[in-house]
Symmetry: C2
Subunit: 455 residues, 2 copies
C-alpha cells in the first residue's frame, strides 16, 4: 500500500538527503508532504536520525506526525526531547490521539508526559483514559465546534474562524445551552446556505443523532455508516455534550472490528497489535486456548470411531471415506455459519429471522447435498465397481451430513446471539468439531444398517 | 440495528396513522424524520400504501428516500408514478445512486427511466454504467464543487452557495483549469480561515491525492482511510476530473469487501445481495463449486488411510485419534492463514515479509504444539494407561502436525498473492484439506515406525 500511496514521493531521495546530512533540502521536501507520508518516512529511520528529522518539523506538523507514528517511535522521541518540546506537542495533539498513545506507553513515560501537560488538558486526558475499552467515550475527541442558539450565521462564522483551527472537524457544529446540554446540530453547509442575520436556532436540526459515552463502538460505527454521518456527538448520562466521533476514526474501528471477527472466527483471541509487531509468545497465547478446547472436544469423534471399531475392522475400506465426510461436513457448516455471523454483524439478519434462515439453509443443503451425492456416486462406482452398497452408504451419509451441517451451522450462531454470547465463536472450527461427531454417527449408523455389520 | 437507530421514532404510531388514513398527521411526522428512517418505514408498507406515502414527500426528500429504498421498492414506485414524477426524481438523484439503482432493474424498466431523464444526465449515467465493476469509476459521483484558480475566497463562497445544494459534499472543493485538468484542492476550512480577497491559487494544495477511473475500489478505500479523506477525486487517463468518491461510499465499499473476504475464506463465491434476499438456488450455486473441489481433494487423505489399512487393522485404537489430529491440524492452519490473509488485506503484511512470517509461525507452532502435546500426553496416559508407545506416537504426531500446519497456513496465502491470485482462496477450508493429508502421513508413518506395524 505504501508504495502506491507515496507514488509522488521519492523516498530514496529523502533517505539520500538524510544520509548526506543535507537537512535544509530535506526539510523543504518534507514541508511539501502530508503528515501520513512523513510519519511513514520517519518510521524507517534509525534512532538518531529520527530525532533530527522530527525536530525539523514546525510545531503543528510535528504534532500531526507524532499522532501517526508507532508507539515505539513516539516513546523514542519523548525520551529524546526536552520538557518544553514535549509540552508543546501535547498542547497540539488532539485528545483522542494523546489518549491512544498514552495507552501504549509504559507508566514511567506516561508520568513524564502528563507532568508536561497543562492542567486542563491533563484533566481531559485522565477523564478519557477512564472510559471503558471499545466504548464511544474511548474513541471520541474533545475538539469540536460548539455554537449557541442565539448566535447568528455571521457570529457563527466568526467563531469557527477563531476556533476552527483546533477542531478535528468544523463541518458539523453542535448547539448547546448554558449547561452544555446538546440541543441541536447545524452544518457549515446550512450556515453557508442561509443569510448572515439568521440565528442558529432557526436553522439548526433538533433531531440530533447521538450516542452516550458507554455505548459500544460498534453501535457508533453502525449509526455513522447507516446515516452517512461525518461526525457523531457523544453525550453523558445527563445529555451533556462531552465529545464527538469523527468518520476517520469510525472507519478505523470498522476495520478493527472486522479483523477481530476474522480472528475470532478462526478460533483465536483478538490481538491488539499488527501481526509483525506481536511477539511469538503473545500469538501462541491467543491461539492455544481454542486449540485446546477443540482438540479435547474432538475426542468425542474419536470415541464414536472406537464404538464402531468392529465395523471398520470387518470392512477397512469404510475408514477411507472418513476424511471426505468430515471435511465436507465441516466445510458445509462453515459456509452457513460464516454467512449467518457476517449477516448478523452487518445487520442483514436478526435473531427473529431464525425460522426463515433455517428453512433456507435446509433447502440449500438439499440442493448442495444432492449434487455432491451424485458426483460422489459416479466417482465411487468407477473407483470401486461392485461395491454398490458401500457407495450407497457413503452417498446417503454425504447427503444427510450436508443438510445437518447446514442446519447446525446456521442455528448455533443465532443461538449464541440470543444468549448474548458472541456469535463469532460459533464459526467454522467449533461447527466442524460438532459436525464431525454427527457425520460419523450418521455414517457408521448407516453402514451398520445397510451393510449388516455388527456395531 | 434498526431498533436502536430509530429509537426516537414511534413506528407503530406511523403505521397506525397510515392504517387510519390520517395522511396529514403522517406527513407532518415524516417531515421531521431523516431519509434513512423514512425509507426503512416505507420498506415495510404494502404496495398500495408505499405509493401513497411516497407521494406525500416533497421533491428533494423523495429523491433522497428513493436512493435509500431497495430495488424492489424502487421498481414498484417507478411502475406506479407518472413520467413527469419520474423525471423529477431522476433530476434530483445523485448520479452514483441512479447508476446503483439502474444496475439492479430489469431492462424494460431501465428503458422507461432513461427515456424520462434529461439528455445531459442520461449521457452521464450511460458513461458511469460503462466503468468496470468495482472500479473507482463505478463508485464515484459527478456532483462536486469545482473552483478556478483565479477565484477569490469571496467568489468561491458565492459559487458554493449557488451550487452547493446539488453537491454530495461541499467541504472539499477541486480546482480545475479550462480543460478540466485537476490542479489543486481547497477545503471550506481553508476558505474560512483566509481573508475574502485571497485567491484560490494562493491557498490551494497542489499535492492532490487522486485515483483514476479504472483503479480498484479497494485502493480507493485504502487511500481514503490511510489519509483520513472525506472525499477523493477521480480523474481519467488525461488527468481530467470526472468525479469524486465520498467517505460514506468508501465505508460501504469497506464493509462489502470485508463481507466478500469472509465469504471467499469460507469457500463460497461472493454473493451480490443480502442473505435473506438471495434465492436458495443462487446460494447453492455459490457454495457447491468449492465443496466439490474440496470433497474430491479429500479423497487423497482417504487414499492415505487405505494405504495404512494394515496398521489400523492390527491396532484399531489408532483410528480413534484421526479426528483429533485432523481437526487440530485444520484449526492450526486456519489460524495462520486467516491471520496472514487479513494482514495482507489491511496492508500490515507484504509478500516480501515471507521469511519473517514463516520464521514467526514456526516458533508459534513449536510453542502451541508443545502445549497441545503435553496436555494430550497427560490425558492419554490417564485414559489409556499402559499404552505408552501409542501415546508417544499420537503426541509426537500432534506436535509435528501443528508446526507443519502453521507453516503451510502462512506460506500458501503469500504464495497466492505472489502469483496474483486472491489469497483468500488459501483460507481454512483449502488449508484443512492439505493439512489433513500431511497429518495422516505423519501419524501413520510415525505409528509404523514406533509401533513396528507393517504398512
Amino acid at each position: 500500500m505504501s508504495v502506491e500511496a507515496m507514488e509522488n514521493i521519492d523516498v530514496d531521495e529523502l533517505s539520500r538527503l538524510a544520509d548526506e546530512k543535507k537537512y535544509r533540502q530535506l526539510k523543504n521536501l518534507l514541508l511539501e508532504m502530508n503528515s501520513v507520508d512523513i510519519a511513514a518516512f520517519i518510521e524507517d529511520l534509525d534512532s538518531e536520525r529520527t530525532v533530527v528529522v522530527f525536530r525539523m518539523l514546525p510545531k503543528d506538523l510535528a504534532a500531526e506526525v507524532f499522532a501517526e507514528l508507532s508507539s515505539e517511535k513516539d516513546m523514542h522521541i519523548i525520551n529524546s526531547i526536552t520538557d518544553r518540546e514535549l509540552s508543546d506537542i501535547m498542547e497540539d495533539l488532539y485528545v483522542d490521539d494523546a489518549v491512544d498513545m498514552l495507552e501504549e506507553l509504559p507508566a514511567i513515560v506516561v508520568r513524564r508526559v502528563l507532568k508536561n501537560t497543562k492542567t486542563d488538558t491533563r484533566k481531559l486526558i485522565n477523564q478519557f483514559l477512564n472510559y471503558p475499552e471499545n466504548s464511544a467515550g474511548s474513541i471520541m475527541t474533545a475538539e469540536y465546534i460548539g455554537l449557541k442558539e442565539s448566535m447568528t450565521v455571521e457570529e457563527s462564522f466568526a467563531y469557527i474562524r477563531k476556533h476552527g483551527i483546533d477542531s478535528e472537524t468544523i463541518y458539523t457544529c453542535y448547539v448547546t445551552d448554558a449547561e452544555r446540554r446538546l440541543n441541536g446540530v447545524v452544518t457549515v453547509k446550512d450556515l453557508l446556505m442561509n443569510p448572515y442575520e439568521t440565528t442558529v436556532s432557526e436553522i439548526m436540526d433538533t433531531h440530533v443523532l447521538k450516542v452516550t459515552t458507554t455505548q459500544d463502538q460498534e453501535e457508533v460505527v453502525d449509526m455513522m455508516s447507516r446515516y452517512d454521518l461525518l461526525s457523531l456527538p457523544v453525550v453523558d448520562s445527563e445529555n451533556r455534550l462531552v465529545g464527538i466521533v469523527t468518520v476517520d476514526d469510525a472507519m478505523e474501528v470498522m476495520e478493527e472490528e472486522a479483523t477481530e471477527d476474522f480472528e475470532k472466527m478462526a478460533a483465536m483471541l483478538p490481538s491488539e497489535k499488527p501481526y509483525l509487531k506481536t511477539s511469538v509468545l503473545q500469538l501462541a497465547k491467543n491461539r492455544i486456548p481454542w486449540l485446546l478446547i477443540l482438540m479435547l472436544s474432538s475426542t468425542i469423534s474419536g470415541a464414536i470411531l472406537v464404538y464402531y471399531e468392529n465395523a471398520f475392522a470387518a470392512l477397512p475400506l469404510l475408514v477411507s471415506f472418513v476424511p471426505m465426510l468430515m471435511d465436507t461436513g465441516g466445510n458445509c457448516g462453515g459456509q452457513s455459519s460464516t454467512t449467518i455471523i457476517r449477516g448478523m454483524a452487518v445487520g442483514d439478519i436478526e435473531p427473529s429471522d431464525i425460522l426463515q434462515v433455517v428453512w433456507k439453509e435446509i433447502r440449500v443443503g438439499i440442493v448442495a447435498g444432492a449434487v455432491l451425492a451424485i458426483v460422489n456416486f459416479v466417482r465411487l462406482m468407477i473407483q470401486y465397481p461392485g461395491n454398490t452398497m458401500i457407495c450407497v452408504t457413503v452417498v446417503i451419509s454425504i447427503f444427510i451430513t450436508v443438510i445437518v451441517a447446514k442446519t447446525i451451522g446456521c442455528t448455533l450462531p443465532i443461538g449464541a446471539k440470543v444468549l448474548r454470547l458472541d456469535p463469532a465463536i460459533m464459526a467454522s472450527p467449533m461447527i466442524t468439531t460438532i459436525v464431525d461427531a454427527v457425520s460419523l454417527m450418521v455414517y457408521f449408523g448407516m453402514a451398520s444398517r445397510l451393510l449388516e455389520l455388527a456395531a
